[in-house]
Subunit: 431 residues, 2 copies
């Protein structure tokens, strides 16, 4: 087996699920895009520099010095019980009431996504996802060999009629629908938010059809207008598994997220978590817990909100001023992203190398679908670069789109290579 | 679906793999065993109190203060490149040479176990494991619906002839062997170590048969006599995936482990890791990296070695003095554990409630098998309690065994309920 002339001697030994694990072809481009002269509107990296670093440093030091025997030791597979109680306070902001027993702490909410899928999905089970959907979730569903089916969105997110139709269609094919995966607030990548009536109807369909809702809510507290949207989970504690994260409200580098689940599901999730990582890091968990207990975390979330609102405004203003006619985009009321649709005939992935040559980067739309949709779209993030950089990025991007349009008008659009690649594997650049 | 009279309304919705996820029946007992008056010889918790806490505290604070934008941010799915280089220095101690590209950092080496299994094992694939084997590995293999087959050990660990026989037998049944999972040094739970010739023969069999060796080595640097044993991976970089951990040489609460794998396998592992958690925690990784760079970590490992040797001596001495005739145990040359075999007719799980009543706890042997073996055995850990507590624990345990023997002599052993439960889910108590 070892040696031999093949590139990978183990290629025949991999599990069936490993076949779907392939690196994104756009990764190489992103390696180039990380050069400082490139304005990256691609990555979903929170602006952690806005945190009170001195206070966090002191928190970390105090924890290790005074509670080292606990902080540096294995902990419970379900997560630290004090932190689980504090998570209830955070979720109260989106209307959720629960018990600390209902919460499981995970290594980022990505791990919660993995565990829920592990517990529910056999190969071939259908997961209904928005069109487009979060690339990291698509990666998980693919890793568990799910049958991923997209459901249409509009400016208020997932369309209930389309959801109903998808359930009927998929069941008529003899398939089993295991979950409806949705990001109701400040959607990644679509930048839209479900209103209360929309949420009510989606929950009603899920209940009627007996299908679990997997509600992913990393951006829920980062709305720019009024109170945070009420979570779907706030109105039903049996039909929904809710995923939350400290990656955007505190720091992504800590890798602390959580799931709230009905009792029986939560028990399975804890068992799955113990098998996956034994227990989440006490070091990271207790840092979060101590930060929540001693720092004005709500004020800090407000700081993030103001920062991202200013950047959102810079993005939308400059799109308005600079984008060629025929380009459209969503107007996010929170979160990190706007979804841009190019003029007819343009292909966002084919355009990406030219954009990077012009020193601006984005994520092409096809990455957010498993079925080749999205070629005319792209995602812009405004979370990391400052307002001036965002404006400069949009200026460069609009120049690239204009050149593409000229080429298309001169030579026709037939030269555009339509590429139906599925989702890229998740990576920080593509969050 | 929601409501209804069943206890868990989602019970019919779970994946097939979730059926194997059940909590251990001995967990309730361990909840009692964590009371301070109980001497626990059950848990595999490293004695992290021996770390230089002030230096670690200062390291953590300096990192957050000076490199916050990096420490608190998402990182690479493969792990921090500086840390990966430092891991090479650690592995040099067991004879391994590799390149930083060959290393992937994981959320504890438990996660590396999960990823390797995810990448290689379809349901029904055979994994060969030692008899007994690490409970956390058995949990992972079961979660991926592997066919787990035990292979006999002796005082030098995995028996090559038995390995050969198992491969032949399993293949004759038409099954596919995907991995040989082994802990060659200071085995958990058996407390034995493969000699160099034993390792050479196991590697030879794996090469001849084209089967991957999954070499798990969390205790390799914690030997009490001479240099650390040379890893199997040191003699072959294509046939072996090697797993390492900082849980026992620095701190388990950081959750930083790693895998070293042949190129193609490593690529798959990174993709699987990104799907599972996006990236390991920069906060934890850079804390480890800075500790390795600024602290005398080899001296600290020596401190741990001396500490655990003293405790091992206390255990072996008191076993020698106090255990009733007919009881045998392994004599670990490193690591955390000794494997005790009770006199004929006694059952370690049936005895556990009585042991806990006598204020001493251990892990019954059946937990380390999937097939009901091990009822006459138990695992004792000497890593956490100090020498006096260990002696007191053994004194209590020997009293319990003596009473059991008296009962057996009076009433015969027919009253012992043989319990063929499989492995418990991993938990810190059972590590």
């Amino acid at each position: 087996m070892s040696g031999g002339s093949r590139l990978d001697p183990w290629v025949d030994a991999y599990a069936a699920r490993a076949r779907g694990m392939t690196a994104s072809e756009i990764r190489a481009l992103f390696a180039v895009a990380s050069r400082p002269e490139v304005v990256s509107l691609a990555g979903g990296m929170p602006f952690v520099q806005a945190l009170p670093l001195d206070a966090l440093a002191e928190t970390a030091a105090r924890l290790v010095r005074e509670r080292g025997a606990e902080v540096l030791q294995y902990g419970s597979g379900q997560g630290d019980v004090t932190l689980r109680g504090q998570i209830l306070d955070v979720m109260a902001e989106v209307g959720i009431t629960a018990h600390p027993d209902d919460v499981i702490v995970t290594t980022g909410s990505q791990m919660a996504l993995d565990l829920v899928t592990r517990v529910f999905c056999d190969p071939g089970d259908v997961v209904l996802v928005e069109a487009p959907s979060y690339v990291g979730a698509l990666g998980v569903f693919r890793a568990y060999e799910c049958d991923i089916q997209h459901v249409a969105m509009d400016d208020e997110g997932l369309v209930p009629e389309a959801l109903d139709e998808a359930i009927t269609r998929v069941r008529a094919e003899g398939k089993r629908v295991k979950m409806i995966y949705t990001i109701p607030s400040f959607h990644n990548p679509a930048g839209v938010t479900q209103g209360p009536e929309r949420r009510r109807r989606i929950l009603e369909i899920a209940k009627r059809e007996g299908i679990l809702i997997l509600e992913d809510d990393p951006y829920g507290l980062l709305g720019f207008e009024g109170a945070p949207p009420r979570a779907i989970r706030a109105d039903d504690d049996q039909q929904v598994v809710y995923l939350g994260s400290f990656s955007k409200t505190i720091a992504s580098g800590l890798r602390v997220g959580w799931a709230v689940a009905p009792h029986g599901v939560r028990e399975k999730l804890v068992l799955a978590a113990e098998s996956a990582v034994l227990c989440p890091s006490n070091y990271a968990q207790l840092t979060v817990s101590e930060y929540l207990a001693t720092q004005p975390w709500r004020e800090q979330v407000k700081v993030f909100r103001e920062l991202y609102r200013e950047r959102r405004d810079a993005l939308l203003d400059s799109l308005e001023q600079l984008m060629p006619a025929g380009t459209t985009w969503t107007k996010p009321a929170g979160g990190f992203y706007s979804w841009v649709t190019l003029p007819e005939g343009l292909d966002a992935k084919a355009m990406l190398p030219r954009a990077i040559s012009a020193l601006v980067a984005y994520v092409p739309g096809t990455g957010f679908f498993v079925d080749g949709q999205g070629s005319q779209s792209l995602r812009l993030s405004y979370c990391y670069p400052d307002a001036d950089r965002i404006r400069e990025g949009v200026r460069r991007l609009s120049g690239v789109i204009e050149s593409e349009l000229e080429i298309a008008q001169t030579f026709g659009t037939g030269h555009v290579l339509r590429n139906a690649q599925g989702p890229a594997n998740p990576a920080p650049d593509l969050l």
